[in-house]
Symmetry: C2
Subunit: 433 residues, 2 copies
């Protein structure tokens, strides 16, 4: 490794789908790679809602970045957090060290956003990390426990009202699963309260669910959700969220469990790249995903704002991030070989899938439209196929088969009992003594 | 259920092995049962060290109490914490309600104890709950990450020194597994530091490991640990633990990861039962496990101090707690039927097992002594057999088979990144800037 320092140094920020694919795409290339992430694991985010709803354990959908990449000799994994980027000096400062780069790939993704209502975060957690999923799991499971312990009917009602804000795929998945838990998993297990009487309300400000899908599928998704017992409120704005519940327009709805699936904002690192951002904070990259003024810096994944030929934007989904990672790895290989032929990124739409519940899903591929059991089977096979790690696939399949036959959920454990991130009944203004 | 209030009310405090077995033993009896636990799950504690060392996910060894007991119609599960017991009024006050009882079963177990050195808890976490296991997993995995990031050789050394205090089964299991992780799981994955150079030191104040076992097996366990790379220090007292490491007698050992497996103290609820306690805080019960002055109150499991005919004490292990739970269920059934024939509890020793690493374990059953692969196979079959839930058994077997062939550990994820319960390098007195 004595000649290593003379090789160009590629620094990749973020080990999500984009960063991981870029790193793998550089296997065997004449570069030194340092992949830096704040967390030690790659997360299979499409199944994160199942961790939040106690269907899967966290290790089933997360794998250590070091383990995934251990055979790639030209790569070092570091656990650290990027603080700022100096484009002139080609240097990234992290919490614990500083790295100089020849090529930089920024793949730090997005987090959830409350559109200026940051106070809502306390009452309506979002879902981006495993810790978010544990917080939601804890709230959902404890809500049923509180209802069981509660004697006041209005209080019990508020503990059994669940509101999901946002009718995109995550909101649809969360609402459908909550309804299944209330109707199928829990009813036999409580003696004083009746989980079956829980209300699950899915609120969407726009005119229909799953706006990225064909309107026909949006309508089918809504019907499937309603059949599961979810109340769908489209065209309804949430105007307030606090300890008592939500306001839907003018109408207050008492609910002690509110989940946020409404908005994402790009990673704040984008602001340091001296490049215009779009309204969601994403970086407007050049056609090859580099910064217009800094061809050695690439932005990929949910942090990149990429326009397609028809003027639409490349969506913030896993397949897009992977395609961008692969593209950038190719660009870096070409540039190391002194090949600077322009090569714009082309997004290949692989279709869209959203699951709703058992045997309930919607899918579109090109002109093909699926819903119900066929869409659900496509969803299942695709997610098992793309899930990282052979062991994880087996465990997840086993969990799903088990859950399908028994309606049990395998990860129904509440931990973190001393954590204060869950507002208790005592903190809620509407609470009885 | 109109006649339900007229049935005798049995309140069981704690859903561990003792409380759960007592509850099941009263299935179909003419009583109303309320089982109260602070947590929503029963925990299979014998495998907790595997969650702490990233070998198993938490849901693999924990199941919701409600789910386990859902078919038992005479039973209600409550999530609450017992605050005090009023023996005269036959009433238990919980954090959120108060219950009157006709029979009380106290099965609240034990926690780890630092023998008056409570300040050590910050630096040397113990292992009793899932949250403890997550805290240990986090520290162990992050120690290797810090070593990778560290340039100062002395600091790196301190991050790669692991000290386990206490040579009982938990200490032996933790030390053996840590050595396997350092030598087999991680070495290929780090570029700057060498996990293989990690030192794992197991410290025991007494003259030998596994004091409850035959001395021949203690010696075999020590040899098997040493073969795995563990440094065993028997007859060595830990005199100090702080942010810099431990003192073994007079000798300081710099170590940033110290795990506590040395002592347990009975649940503080025992102090409220107006009955003499032994030195470890356990309640000295009558021959039938009731309180001498209150035959309607029973104490079982790790909280009970039960003398055997030969003067030795019943050990604080799962089989003992289960036998006590079963015995008490029988006593309550008899008393409800107005049968007050004395029936003393007899402990049936089912042998002892401790695992050390792959194909390394010790076991004794009556006069039979096993070590190495035969003991390991007995350990494996026994633990799979007793593990609660069919699904869990399959998942655990799959995880173990996978780990056996690949040396990978399936739950190597660090979560809780914002939690401040892990002392960071910056807080450590010995830390370089």
């Amino acid at each position: 490794m004595d000649d290593a320092p003379t090789l160009p140094h590629v620094v990749i920020l973020g080990g999500g789908f984009g960063g991981l694919t870029a790193a793998r795409g550089l296997a065997g290339a004449s570069v030194r790679i340092t992949l830096v992430d704040r967390r030690n694991h790659h997360l299979f985010q499409p199944l994160l809602y199942q961790v939040a709803t106690a269907g899967l354990s966290a290790p089933s959908i997360a794998a250590p970045l070091r383990q995934i990449l251990r055979r790639q000799d030209n790569l070092t994994v570091l656990l650290d957090e990027a603080l700022d980027v100096d484009l002139q000096e080609r240097r990234v400062r992290f919490a614990h060290e500083t790295l100089d780069y020849d090529f930089l790939v920024v793949a730090t993704g997005a987090t959830h956003a409350y559109f200026g209502h940051d106070a809502w975060a306390r009452w309506a957690p979002g879902l981006k990390t495993l810790d978010d999923a544990f917080a939601i799991r804890r709230r959902v499971l404890l809500a049923f426990e509180r209802a069981e312990r509660e004697n006041d009917p209005a209080e019990r009602r508020a503990w059994l009202n669940f509101v999901v804000v946002g009718g995109g795929p995550t909101g649809v998945e969360l609402a459908g699963t909550l309804a299944e838990i209330a109707r199928h998993t829990l009813p036999r297990e409580f003696r004083r309260s009746n989980p079956h009487s829980a209300r699950v309300v899915l609120v969407e400000a726009g005119p229909r669910l799953l706006a990225a899908f064909d309107p026909v599928l949006s309508a089918k998704a809504q019907r499937q959700l309603e059949r599961l017992g979810v109340e769908v409120r489209t065209g309804t704005a949430v105007t307030a969220i606090d300890g008592a519940g939500v306001c839907l327009g003018e109408a207050p709805l008492p609910a002690y469990t509110v989940l946020w699936a409404a908005g994402v904002a790009a990673s704040p690192l984008g602001r340091q790249l001296d490049t215009p951002l779009d309204r969601a904070g994403r970086v407007r990259v050049a056609a090859d995903l580099s910064l217009p003024a800094h061809p050695e810096v690439f932005v990929i994944g949910d942090l990149a704002c990429v326009e397609r030929a028809d003027g639409s934007l490349v969506p913030g989904v896993a397949p897009a991030a992977k395609q961008m990672g692969k593209h950038v790895a190719g660009r870096i290989r070409a540039r190391v070989d002194a090949d600077s032929t322009p090569a714009p990124f082309h997004y290949r739409d692989q279709g869209a899938l959203a699951t709703i519940g058992r045997m309930a899903a919607v899918a579109q591929f090109g002109r093909l439209r699926l819903s119900g059991p066929p869409a659900w089977w496509v969803w299942l096979v695709a997610h098992i196929y793309f899930l990282i790690g052979f062991r994880n696939r087996l465990v997840v399949l086993l969990d799903w088969a088990w859950a399908y036959w028994t309606y049990e959920r395998s990860a129904r454990i509440v931990t973190g009992a001393d954590a204060d991130d869950i507002p208790t009944a005592d903190e809620r203004p509407a609470d009885s003594p």
